[in-house]
Symmetry: C2
Subunit: 293 residues, 2 copies
Amino acid sequence: MIKKLVIFGVGLIGGSLALALRQAHYCQQIVGCSRNAEHLQKAVDLGVIDSFTLDPQDAVHDADMVLLAVPMGAMGKLLQQIKPVLPADAILTDAGSTKGSVVAEVEQVFGKDFTRFVPGHPIAGREKSGVEAAIPDLYIKRRVILTPLPHTDADALASVAAMWQVTGAVLEQMPVELHDQVLAATSHLPHVLAFSLVDTLLNLPMREDIFRYAAGGFRDFTRIASSDPVMWRDICLTNKTAIVDMISKLQADLSEFAALMEQQDGDALYERMSRAKQARDSYMAYLENGKPA
Amino acid sequence: MIKKLVIFGVGLIGGSLALALRQAHYCQQIVGCSRNAEHLQKAVDLGVIDSFTLDPQDAVHDADMVLLAVPMGAMGKLLQQIKPVLPADAILTDAGSTKGSVVAEVEQVFGKDFTRFVPGHPIAGREKSGVEAAIPDLYIKRRVILTPLPHTDADALASVAAMWQVTGAVLEQMPVELHDQVLAATSHLPHVLAFSLVDTLLNLPMREDIFRYAAGGFRDFTRIASSDPVMWRDICLTNKTAIVDMISKLQADLSEFAALMEQQDGDALYERMSRAKQARDSYMAYLENGKPA
């Protein structure tokens, strides 16, 4: 049970958590805070939060749980604002897509031995964003990854895990660095690729023809290029090292594909594509067997 | 109307055409030919074709329309086999995903002034393949691109166009080279990318974690890596020049993305991603306005 949950950034992610917790009567009070009174009023009207304030210091007063669900570029300033007034027992957690950068920002503001921060990353989303898109079922069977630090308080970790469990999510733990590498590979690289593919096509002389004749594969493949550029800018900036590393690995692999085409090496092309198809098919079978999506 | 249509390769593509034409009573006779009697018998049992033969020369006897729907790597040999017996008035067409290589093979076998060949490419597919997956509706509102040569007979072109129109397809014409460039950009490159992305991930030390934690975007993005490796090997071999060119353009664009991350240039990243998102969203709106998918 949470007495006062404060959610900074009441959009799809924060709003869906609030709805799931309210449905389960898990919080006595949920307070929203951001810089946009209109959005926050809508969140109140939609029954997502109980009340709101535009003042971060006012928000965290008496809070026992504080969730940062703002764009990652906004976290540093927010941490500085709440630092002087955050109750000593309050638990701080976040929903950022990369963890190394948030951990560094919290350390910078709260010190290296701050024990009440539990870094978290709910892996869920919808094509729509904003509090209007929030739904209580968003996290059912979705993974929420927590990346506690060696000095994170066990009770703080347990409280954050318990909160997410209420939403129907599947909890996982891993080290910060592994999280950022795995996400760079499975999420950040595909997004950068989708943006880059569309960008590449936009720069071709026959771009008109290309967009006219694009087939279904292109549509699926570029779906994620319709994602929010603010969020993805921040992810690219904060998980730079892992993403750049993945880009260069992919470029090397693409060069090998191109070389096989140049050499007209059909057997090697077939072998690589078969291996990829097999891995992808196994992955889908694994998902369909009821494992978390 | 077609008296005798011969389909080489009665799989998803050839079989769906046959079903649509039979439904419209557009052919007096549809004969299938391949090297697999069992598949062909299944096509007869499913009502896709009237009869079959394993002998290409026997198949084209008395034919007025001959469709090559075999993997592109099998076209050259087949052309040589049917060359001596193809009726002079028969129209030859194909369903290959690249056109330059088929045109070159037809020229090599039938000569540079052969007027009865109409290169074609139906842009349609399903996740399933084989004659069991054939459906009469496959081509409804789908594009079929014809790439006639300067010396192609007008009546041959009209006959092939009329045949595809019966299926509900939207007919388009473009030069061979433009077709291969446009398809390299919108279909071949995305497929190679999907194969290469999965291949890259398979080579990472944390591959187990990666496949465990892969999110929804990864699933959509790699769907086309489950495509048939034989078909894609052949496409890579036959449209090599255009695909390699697209790979190197994409690699250059990815390097620019990586450089912006290294430089922590959030504004430029945001601008590129926004532009890509906007183009992709416009493309989707265009599709949803009832234009061919």
